[in-house]
Amino acid sequence: MYVAVKGGERAIGNAHRLYAEARRGDPAVPELTLEQIGQQLSHAVDRVMTEGGLYDPFLAALAIKQARGDLVEAIFLLRAYRTTLPRFGAARPLETDAMAVSRRISATFKDLPGGQMLGPTADYSHRLLDFALAETGLPPEPVPPVAGVSESSCPRVTGLLAATGLVEAPPPDSDEADTTDLTRTPLALPAGRALRLQALARGDEGFLLALGYSTQRGFGTTHPFAAEIRMGSVEIELEAEELGFPVVIGEIAVTECQMINQFQGTADQPPQFTSGYGLAFGEAERKAMAMALVDRALRWRELSGGDDARTPAAPAEDEEFVLAHADAVEASGFVQHLKLPHYVDFQAELELLRRLRADAGAVGCADGRAAGAEAPESVP
């Protein structure tokens, strides 16, 4: 087999070796194990699984190790692996009502059926560097068991309110058959809510966070309340065709957030609370909350009676803008492609610029404008 070997090939090989060396660092320091990453950098693992669209803590840890902790790169690695996997089918919708809850809070009711459960959170910690962690030490003190926590009855807040009509009823369970897979069908706009949620779930946490934040600051009028955030494990059920009934194929940890907003109502609908929804793998509260805010913001057209003539008033309401730019893997690739050679295009621009400058030189600058520069706005 003939392969053209030129300087580029050797350079690439060496670059890869250098990268591997940098990844390993000082060989005198023990190498990270995937177990360590999975156990001790679990937020990183959760983010990579969420945006990578694949629940596999082992592979996510591997991707993080391979990417030297660059999470966007790790997400990319996981995605490029995921895309080659066969699809067996679509699972039944998650029953988050039946979640084995490890954390559950509501900002709307002081107490509620099932109770508030803080769970593992740093929310109320003081953000002081804990120098004790710099030393390898003893395991943390065990948490004493709490009486009265019931795993079995933990109805969702929006469900409690929906019964009174104050919150919109949840959309009916959609048939599996009409669940479009965003990774197997190109996104068509306008997208339905299910498709939008898929895109947001894979969307970059930083981007969604900024957009969600912008809605709170007045770019998009939402006055959200965190009706409920819950975290825990849920069962995955798959309905195998030959069986005819769903079977549990595993359990995953998820974070779910429902934000509710006051809604003025339309001619057809009385005023009520409407909701935005967020879901992420593992413990990923920030992502789930940001996602819920953006989901609600993107529902503005549907909630304003479907007036097609209106244009979105804020960036977070602009479906095309949000969905086209939310994916970190796409954004990272395209921004970084600017590192690739552009000699040819640059040469074309250079040639054009020289010609324009030559033209400008030939006619002189008597009329007060130079080629390549903006014409003054108020030439008399």
């Binding site: 053209a4 190109p186 706009l189 095309e320 086209a324 893997v329 295009d345 040469q347 033209d359 390549g372």
Partner: protein
């Protein structure tokens, strides 16, 4: 190009032949057929995540992967050159995953994947050239919304594009687009030729080879079938013109090829070489000499 290839044939590490699974290849081939049937129309396709980043040729790679077969001879160029890093990387990828013969010779190749150039040597019938496309939508700079730009295509409402050309001439005395110069395909669809220099635009017109364009991140495939009319936009009194150089290639003396400029010192010293390395090599092998004045 896929004759005689068992669908189940796999290549190391559990990946399918040419990386993509056969279902995906079929999906891409269907999009290609549609693109060929409607020249210049951007066909949405379910672009896959590839093991290269978006913006680095994922669209072109998916096209190549779905077309390539063991009997193909593949040439990959970036900026006209076979030895630029990204071209090397893509060529290695297919050498490894598709066991395919690779070449730098334009004439020997059956399939050419390119970024930013069309080879100087005219392509012939039976060859396929695959372009890597970053932004497939020529109207994007006038109308950033895809929902609206697709409507403009549907209605063939291209007035805005000519407003831009008018504005260029009013401002600069000439059309100030040097690369990715928009073309009208078969008298119907406005098309981005990918960021090739406008020097290459005339080669698009009635080319005997099949031209395929892939945009992975934007999830679009489009095509110019062989011998299709491709016009570069212009005004009657400001006709389309390509770049010309006062210099010739210092290596082969070519005066009719696209030249790259190389800065040789910090005192403004420059020389020019063919951007198409195969073209340059062939000329030198044939005895041409640019009177190499390199220091």
């Amino acid at each position: 190009m896929i004759d005689g290839l068992p669908a189940s044939r796999t290549v190391g590490h559990g990946y399918t032949y040419a990386y993509l699974d056969e279902q995906t290849k079929r999906m891409i081939r269907r999009a290609v057929l549609k693109a060929v049937a409607v020249p210049g129309y951007q066909v949405p396709f379910a672009s896959r995540e590839m093991p290269m980043p978006y913006g680095w040729g994922t669209g072109g790679i998916q096209l190549t992967a779905s077309l390539i077969g063991p009997s193909d001879v593949l040439k990959v160029i970036d900026q006209g050159a076979d030895d630029t890093t990204n071209a090397v990387s893509i060529r290695q990828f297919f050498a490894r995953t598709a066991h395919v013969q690779t070449t730098t010779r334009t004439a020997e190749s059956t399939l050419i994947q390119t970024r930013h150039r069309i080879p100087e040597q005219p392509l012939r019938a039976g060859q396929i050239i695959v372009y890597q496309v970053p932004i497939p939508e020529p109207l994007r700079w006038l109308e950033p919304r895809e929902t609206e730009s697709r409507r403009l295509h549907a209605l063939q409402d291209y007035g805005g594009m000519y407003v831009k050309l008018y504005e260029d001439i009013a401002r600069y005395g000439r059309i100030a687009t040097a690369y990715d110069y928009p073309v009208l395909v078969n008298g119907r669809y406005l098309m981005s030729p990918s960021p090739i220099p406008k020097f290459d635009n005339p080669k698009l017109d009635r080319m005997p080879a099949l031209q395929l364009f892939g945009a992975g991140r934007e999830k679009r495939i489009y095509a110019v079938p062989p011998h299709t009319r491709v016009e570069s936009l212009a005004f009657d009194d400001h006709p389309f013109q390509v770049q010309k150089w006062d210099q010739t290639c210092v290596l082969c003396g070519a005066g009719d090829s696209y030249l790259d400029e190389v800065i040789t010192d910090d005192a403004g010293g420059r020389w020019f070489v063919c951007s198409d390395t195969d073209h340059c090599t062939r000329r030198r092998d044939g005895g041409a000499d640019g009177g190499d004045r390199r220091p």
